[in-house]
């Protein structure tokens, strides 16, 4: 595994990841700095850019992929992702529902 890792995860991989991450950072910062778009669409673009950038970091810096990464690691990541979605989504659901019922 080390041999193939050395070949596929070379300098090019890190540089591609860096350039992609830099552009995905620059786009939302530029949008907020210039106020070019309405607030709601800016927020949506910030969210999309963040998700893509997280995937870029996982792929190019942490070298995750479906071939060389051990399956247990991928399972651990997917399990954590499900837990996060349930807990964060559930917290928002409860808290914003409470807020709407009690304070408005």
């Amino acid at each position: 595994m080390n041999q193939s890792a050395g070949n596929t995860h070379g300098l090019r991989t890190y540089l591609i990841g860096f350039v992609l991450a830099l552009s995905l950072t620059a786009i939302p910062f530029a949008l907020v700095a210039t106020n070019a778009l309405p607030k709601s669409s800016t927020l949506i673009i910030i969210g999309i850019a963040a998700i893509i950038q997280i995937l870029v970091h996982l792929r190019y810096f942490l070298h995750l992929d479906f071939n060389s990464t051990p399956r247990e690691n991928l399972l651990a990541i997917m399990f954590a992702t499900i837990l996060i979605v349930i807990m964060v989504g559930g917290s928002f659901w409860i808290m914003f529902d409470l807020h709407r019922r009690m304070l408005t």
């Binding site: 595994m1 080390n2 810096f61 837990l83």
Partner: protein, 206 residues
Amino acid sequence: MSAEAIVATADPAASEPGTSDVYEHRAFGFWLYLMSDAIIFSLLFATYVVMASTGTDGGPTGRTLFSLPHAFGETLLLLLSSLTFGLASLAMKSDKRAAMLSWLLVTFVLGLGFVLMEIREFYGMVQVGAGPDRSGFLSAFFTLVGTHGLHVTFGLIWILIMASQVIIKGLTAPVVSRFFRLGLFWHFLDIVWIGIFSVVYLPGVL
């Protein structure tokens, strides 16, 4: 477990099957730790989002407190440090110890710059009466961003320990394994920071 068998046969460095297995299991254990850390951070994010939208208590908001150029500078430092850590890993793979140590040093300096910028920001906020005791929003802000800053600080200490181990012990199998896990930790912190600037700073300034 068939995946593991394939990995083992494809691994040319598996002449000592026992040891390489041990290090692979340690990497798995470290992934479990990272995922538990990710859950801690995501709950701090959830707390922050709820508090930022409802808990400012008439006090200062992100619009007056956050500085976009400052957050962008911090982002650049952390992103560059991820790149330089990657260059250190590449130097390690091709057995260039001096290059590896210099890239580690650059990573350390960039990370230190990040922590110093964050301390300056916190200090400035406390000076204008926007400390963690001002409102629920600010408590959540300092907890979330401060927890990340603490992680980076421990990462910096780990980098120093790692560099001295490389100097004293050389690139032995345990040292390489520790270095690999330090890499996971460092890149993971950069991922958490993506969440922080996307959830805290950008919507705060908007």
